[in-house]
């Protein structure tokens, strides 16, 4: 009996020791849920995970354009921007070992458009046709020079595998189009393969040894080896995440919701660092259809009255900077008025004097709504409240919960005077997202255009021109021309640009490339793990 007990204790101790050995595994955190079907997912964490499990036809570049990936080249057939031909890379393997062909790509596009979820909206009505085994044609409902770039968020699936897992659903012969199966399995070509997924809890993936780009890369140091196993967790409480990070139970945090004191704590903690890849444009829309922000001079007064420096000061050590229509880390960024970004109360008073509310400032009230629970958004409202009080203008700061807050922005009548959002570059191509999608009536609408101003015909014409200009450099010029023109209407207050702080352990190396878009840099193919350093730090 005694001997059995001793053996059991010894066995348990051995198991305990096993738990703490340096493993080739990386634990990653993001949002509270992952929608892993590439035709359904569209949020940050979805896209970040999709870039690990799947591959797009084209891959975004650090310069803001795209490069060949699953597709080796593409062309507008006979110059027709509504008819695109893509030539696929040969020898690309799905995780089940079968080869990617034009059949898979055409099926995936039809599935994507028919289901009408996730990132499919910006594509419009696209039909796909197989030309030969490695060539596929796409027919658009209207010409679009940006179509190849939009495909950075289109991830082909394995047709045969999906068809084998069709469940009951509302898509006729296609049932649920494999949606239920794909939420907990993958059918991709990506660098990692899904092992298990409990939605709202965890997703586990392992390295795909036959990944078409290969795993040998002289870029990395001798101790930096590919990550073998990745566990994506879904936690939102940052006190808990801090505990995990400091204990070494969390290796990479992708949501970046740390508070200022927490970021300082991370900076002080040995063996942990903050990595910046892309950021969020903090944008306060001003509703041009609701008094008193319906007056352009009134809106300009707000821009001049705001104390940018006071708000920004504590965040500057973490890379927060001024911003504009397009975030400052994007190619083609142009600083916009007011410049320099300083409080100028005299100029604000001049603008107010020109507004139709000049003689009734005591009676007007500006309603500022932020997403309830987000302290840094409330901070912007309170700063504005203090600044406008100096001009005798009352600001009401309210933080309704997200469902109510976002629903308010469904029409000009229900949108408050000012609403604050953080726009990360989550839509491809990002420059189009920050311009056409936000300032053109055919853009994304809703929270993305809660200024409700689409009257400047020259701005609209130039925005449309960006979508018919194939040459990227020429398009950049148009974007540069557009930014001051849009800013002149004072449709938004841009308090600052917030680089997303990705907290990570020192032994997690990467990313190899910093691409200013949500997803591509977060593919673990762009990261490595230094097991020697991990052992040194964690034992």
């Amino acid at each position: 009996m005694k001997r059995t007990l001793v053996l059991m204790v010894f066995g348990l101790l051995l198991c305990g020791v096993g738990l703490f050995a340096a493993e080739n595994v990386v634990v990653i955190n993001g949002y509270p849920v992952i929608w892993a079907d590439p035709a359904v997912g569209s949020d940050w964490y979805d896209t970040e995970v999709l870039y690990n499990l799947y591959d797009p036809l084209v891959y975004p570049t650090p310069e803001g354009s795209v490069r060949p990936h699953l597709a080796t080249s593409w062309e507008a057939v006979d110059g027709d921007l509504a008819h695109w031909r893509f030539y696929l890379r040969q020898g690309v393997k799905f995780h089940d070992g079968s080869e990617l062909t034009a059949e898979d790509v055409a099926f995936s596009m039809t599935r994507f458009i028919t289901m009408g979820k996730g990132n499919s909206g910006p594509l419009g009505k696209v039909t796909a046709e197989v030309v030969d085994e490695y060539t596929v044609d796409f027919f658009l409902d209207k010409p679009n020079a940006l179509f190849p770039e939009l495909l950075a968020l289109f991830f082909p699936v394995n047709k045969e595998q999906v068809l084998a897992h069709i469940g009951p659903g509302s898509y006729g012969d296609m049932g649920d189009y494999g949606e239920e199966w794909l939420s907990t399995h993958d059918a991709g070509t990506g660098p990692y393969m899904m092992v298990s997924h409990t939605p709202g809890q965890r997703l586990e993936a392992v390295r795909f040894a036959d990944y078409f780009l290969g795993w040998d890369d002289p870029f990395w140091g001798p101790d930096e080896v590919p990550i073998e196993r990745a566990i994506f967790i879904m936690e939102t409480d940052y006190t808990t995440l801090m505990t995990l990070l400091k204990r070494g139970d969390l290796d990479l945090e992708l949501n970046g919701g740390w508070t200022l004191p927490q970021m300082r704590e991370i900076q002080r903690t040995e063996g942990v660092r903050i990595e910046y890849i892309w950021g969020q444009n903090v944008t306060v829309w001003m509703n041009t259809q609701a008094p008193p922000t319906d007056d352009e001079h009134f809106r300009k007064a707000i821009l001049y009255a705001f104390d940018y420096e006071a708000l920004l000061a504590p965040y500057e050590p973490f890379g927060y900077t001024e911003t504009g229509i397009v975030p400052p880390d994007m190619p083609g960024y142009v600083p916009i008025e007011p410049q320099p970004r300083k409080q100028d109360l005299d100029r604000a008073r001049q603008e107010l004097a020109l507004s139709k509310y000049a003689d009734q400032l005591g009676q007007v009230k500006v309603v500022f709504h932020y997403c309830g629970g987000l302290a840094f958004e409330e901070e912007v409202g309170l700063q504005l409240q203090a600044d406008l009080a100096k001009l005798g203008i009352k600001v009401e700061v309210v933080g309704p919960p997200w469902p109510q807050y976002s629903a308010e922005c469904s029409s000009p009548e229900t949108t408050p005077n000012m609403v604050i959002f953080l726009f990360a570059p989550q839509v491809a191509p990002p420059l189009d997202y920050y311009t056409f999608d936000m300032y053109h009536p055919e853009g994304l609408g809703w929270i993305f255009s809660a200024h409700w101003y689409f009257e400047d015909q020259e701005v609209l014409r130039l925005l449309e021109e960006t979508r018919t200009t194939v040459d990227f450099e020429r398009r950049l010029e148009i974007y540069k021309q557009l930014q001051p023109m849009i800013a002149d209407h004072a449709l938004a207050l841009f308090p600052y640009y917030k680089p997303t702080p990705f907290a990570c352990q020192a032994y997690v190396a990467g990313p190899k490339e910093k691409i200013p878009m949500v997803g591509p840099s977060e593919s673990l193919y762009n990261w490595r793990i230094n097991l020697r350093l991990k052992e040194e730090l964690r034992g």
């Binding site: 569209s42 709202g200 409480d237 989550q426």
Partner: protein, 339 residues
């Protein structure tokens, strides 16, 4: 007793029906667009409208309720907009983790609370009694999530004595799922090492949940015990020289715990509501954490299912409490028989 249980069960069904109607209504009048939430920010207005129609959100309230009720009667609670899979599947996934935690917390509160209450009552006005009363005031007054953050910070982050969060270390694989109760499943899989690790992980969240109940139940047991101690028959036992331990366990404890058992029924419901924040703090992959996320994302089907499960739990626990009291207190049985 059988007829009584059947009557109570029928009452519970009626209560659940009313509850479903109420929560179905509340979930729909709260501002926010569930279709938009389900499709993500980038969906076009056309896509959102199509989903609204699919979810019958474009129909009058009672028509929506009719569709929902028909589905529920067929065992289908609908699809979760938050996890994108059937709500029943979510419940099967997440509920056992919470039940296991709650049962463990109840066990702790029962054992510790009763012991403290009995000792405090028996040695009333001693230093131990004074200390217990002070601690119990603090225990009742402090919200469990505050205790959770405090315990996590002290024992996990600062001292490194307790494991971090979750039911198991993040990198550790769960044993094959049979019951969903990790302590049982790990034993069934022949993995006592996993049982031990799971037990360690459960300790801090369970204590966070149990402290308020230890204090509450201990105080009630103490008062009740003091009350029973004044009875003539206890004095008679003592005069006849019956051993003090026998007096406590045989004659004092049984009548003294009747009020505690009554309170425990309600406490179990409170435990479920307290678990909402404790699960968030400890990253406990349970039903309460799922419920919080479902509510934040206005996941209509999940919200209704969550409330129904809570209602069902409260109804069943109350029934169990009534039966237990009838067992412990013969006067209740006699009254129900019409005596």
């Amino acid at each position: 007793m059988g007829a009584y249980i059947v009557k109570r069960l029928l009452q519970s069904i009626l209560v659940l029906f009313g509850l479903s109607l109420l929560i179905f209504f509340i979930a729909r009048v709260v501002p926010g667009d569930p279709a938009r939430a389900a499709l993500g920010n980038l969906a076009t207005e056309e896509q959102v409208e199509r989903l609204r129609a699919e979810m019958h959100l474009d129909k009058p309230f009672f028509v929506q309720y009719y569709y929902w009720l028909i589905s529920v009667l067929h065992g289908d609670l609908g699809k979760s907009l938050y996890t994108q899979r059937p709500v029943t599947q979510d419940l099967v996934q997440f509920l056992p983790a919470t039940l296991e935690l709650m049962l463990f917390a109840t066990l702790i509160s029962l054992v510790v609370g009763q012991t403290m209450g009995v000792l405090s009552g028996y040695f009333r006005n001693s230093w131990f009694d004074g200390l217990f009363r002070v601690i119990s005031y603090a225990g009742v007054a402090t919200p469990p999530f505050v205790i959770a953050i405090f315990l996590l910070f002290i024992f996990s982050q600062l001292l490194g004595l307790a494991p971090g969060v979750g039911r198991l270390p993040i990198t550790m694989a769960e044993p094959p799922r049979v019951t969903g109760f990790l302590l049982i499943d790990s034993l069934l899989a022949g993995r006592p090492d996993v049982t031990l690790v799971a037990l360690k992980h459960m300790l801090l969240p369970a204590i966070s949940l149990a402290i308020a109940h230890i204090a509450q139940e201990g105080r009630i047991t103490r008062s009740s015990l003091i009350d029973v101690q004044q009875k003539d028959y206890i004095l008679a036992h003592q005069v006849h020289g019956i051993r003090p331990t026998k007096v406590i366990f045989k004659y004092l404890l049984r009548p003294s715990i009747v009020p505690t058992v009554t309170v425990m029924g309600m406490d179990f419901a409170f435990l479920l509501s307290n678990a909402f924040l404790v699960e968030v703090v400890f990253m406990w992959p349970g039903f309460s954490r799922y419920a919080v996320n479902a509510m934040l994302s206005k996941d209509l089907n999940a919200i209704v299912a969550v409330v129904l499960v809570i209602g069902l739990t409260v109804a069943l626990v109350n029934l169990l409490v009534d039966v237990t009291i009838a067992f412990l207190d013969p006067t209740v049985r006699i009254r129900r028989r019409g005596g």
